[in-house]
């Protein structure tokens, strides 16, 4: 049971990291405010099921769409504001969104929102049920991400990521593709938010602040930006730190920050990034195994 809860927590981060990867990885747009979209999805879902009595399974996609809609506006902003300025705007938006949730009565304001448990054939969804949903979602998002990588969208985003001006001059509609990346990335985060809200049964604005966004970004960068395996491994590592290091819980943040600094300093492409030490070694290993089999 405890193991299942830990896996759910890690799974949620995996989904969030994968969602951010589409924006900050594939499209190369710095986003330190993904927590806001996680929150928008969570609150929207909670309001839909809690205040309007909508079926959880309907609320999920609906909240994701609404989140993506707001992500659309961030995408619009990204056309005008770029790079580190954009990064700061995402921080600003994160803050503003959290402030709205903290102060607007409809969202429970300071008291937070209670979320009713979803219905699964007459019974409340169990933890195993949540874990199943999350695993299914992860598989879907991975498949989707792989599809993006191979598609026109992925190539366009890659061009934008490398050099936006050059991509523009080549006739690529950078505006359209950037917006698409934001919409997709934020919708997935929103979808995760709905699941999270119902799993926690109670949400507060502070769950979705700057620290959350930084954590998600760290996971992507730690594991390897612009890959699928990277965000997953990053989320697993950073998500498990609180559990693994519980015996030194006082030093946990110190360890976390230390790992972050060391990783960024010595391996900015991430643990399993395309150019990293570990990944290169793994590739060599794969190659040598292949050779042996062939011979």
């Amino acid at each position: 049971m405890y193991a299942i809860v830990v896996m759910i927590n890690v799974g949620i981060f995996v989904l969030l990291a994968l969602s951010l990867n589409i924006i900050t990885g594939y499209a190369g747009q710095p986003n330190i405010g993904q927590g806001a979209f996680f929150g928008i999805g969570a609150y929207t879902g909670a309001v839909l099921t809690g205040k309007f009595g909508i079926y959880f399974w309907l609320a999920m996609p609906f909240a994701a769409i609404i989140t993506g809609f707001i992500g659309f506006f961030l995408g619009l902003i990204s056309i005008r504001i770029k790079e580190d300025f954009l990064a700061i705007v995402t921080i600003a938006l994160n803050f503003i969104v959290a402030a709205v949730f903290q102060n607007v009565e409809f969202f429970g304001a300071a008291m937070g929102l209670s979320v009713p448990p979803p219905n699964w054939f007459g019974e409340s969804l169990s933890y195993q049920g949540y874990l199943t949903i999350i695993i299914i979602l992860i598989i879907l998002v991975v498949i989707f991400s792989k599809w993006i990588e191979k598609s026109w969208l992925g190539m366009a985003l890659g061009a934008i990521r490398n050099n936006e001006m050059a991509a523009d001059s080549l006739g690529i509609d950078t505006k359209k593709f950037k917006i698409m990346a934001f919409v997709i990335g934020t919708s997935i985060a929103g979808l995760t938010g709905v699941v999270y809200a119902h799993y926690m049964t109670f949400i507060m604005a502070s769950d979705f602040g700057f620290l959350t966004s930084v954590t998600i970004l760290s996971m992507v960068i730690l594991g390897g930006n612009n890959t699928i395996r990277g965000p997953i491994i990053g989320a697993v590592i950073l998500g498990l730190i609180p559990e693994v290091f519980r015996f030194i819980s006082d030093y946990r943040l110190l360890v976390y920050a230390g790992i972050l600094i060391l990783m960024i300093r010595f391996q900015p492409s991430g643990l399993l990034g395309d150019d990293s030490f570990v990944w290169n070694k793994l590739k060599l290993l794969k190659a040598s195994l292949g050779r042996r089999r062939g011979a």
Partner: protein, 382 residues
Amino acid sequence: MKRSFISLFLLVILLFAMSSLVMAQDVVKLGFFAPVTGPAAADGESALNSAKLAVEVINEEGGIDGREVQLVEYDDHLDSKQSVSIAQKLTTRDNVVAVVSGSYSGTTRPAATIYQNAKVPMISAYAIHPDIPKTGDYIFQQSFPGPVQGRVGGYMAVDDLGAQKIAILYVDNDFGSTLNDNFQEYVKEKGAEVVYVDSFAIGEREFNPVLTKIKGLNPDLIYVVAYAGEGAAIMRQSVDVGIEAQILGTEGMDSTTQFLQVAGEAAEGLIITTNLNRDSEEEQVIDYINRYTEKYGFAPDMVGASTYDAFMLLAHVMRQVGPDSEAIKDAMYEVEDYMTNTGLLYRYTEVGEAIKPVQVQVVKDGEFHYYDQITDMDIIAP
């Protein structure tokens, strides 16, 4: 034949000895979680200190029927994902019989659901969100709920201090907004006028603009719902700005080291609603304050005292019915007139809210002293 008999005999003795050793190691585990790291580290540390002291004292007094009490403590970093995960761990792996929450409302609430479902009694030491005890019959609050404190504040403001024009500043989380709502309800009913209301975020220190504005409105009293850091800043700056109105505070400012020392002379005359009476003549309160100060080097605060009491209450109940989760839960509702360091616990309501008197303290000569104690059932019953 004789030799094998002797060896068998010795074996039996050995087994007996081992089993009694095993039984002696049979401990009573109590779970605990608090935000020891993170933005609420000061309160978390205070709670943890008291928890450790409480368990020490309980064991000194013989434990529970001779069995040692073991504290299983965790740091939730003021993150609800952590408190939920900790709750799972405590109820499935650590096999605790009961849990005390030394954390804030935001982290305690989602965790409470887990304890309720696992049928493990949980007492929230100082998180006063009214929905926490409503989670279920296994969930209790150690201190009077937020709305009660807000009402008592209103009573003090209007009925005791005679204020007719009141300004309010409150921290914008659930603690602040609960107290603000109930305070306003009470004072408005009594005909007082609320001339100004404003909120601020935790960690805010700059109050000159808003205090300047309040001064211009000339209220009789300012009701401040804040934690030690902001509260100290408000006290200092209100002196700076030249405000002479009486200031009424809450348990958030109940701390010698963090509030009184920082606010200094500016805190003189402040009245707060809280649950720890420093002037109490009850021996156990004096003992607790002395012992805590001796062990940790500084005086305990409301957070510490509440946490300590939660553990002592559990010990009291366990000594009556044994360390069994369900028995503990049932016995909690039977508790009547039990004296804690934070006031006499009359009893629990059917949803697990504590009915206790509210202490009112005043800052005189740089220390908290007794001002009043509210026992009027009309006000303090949730």
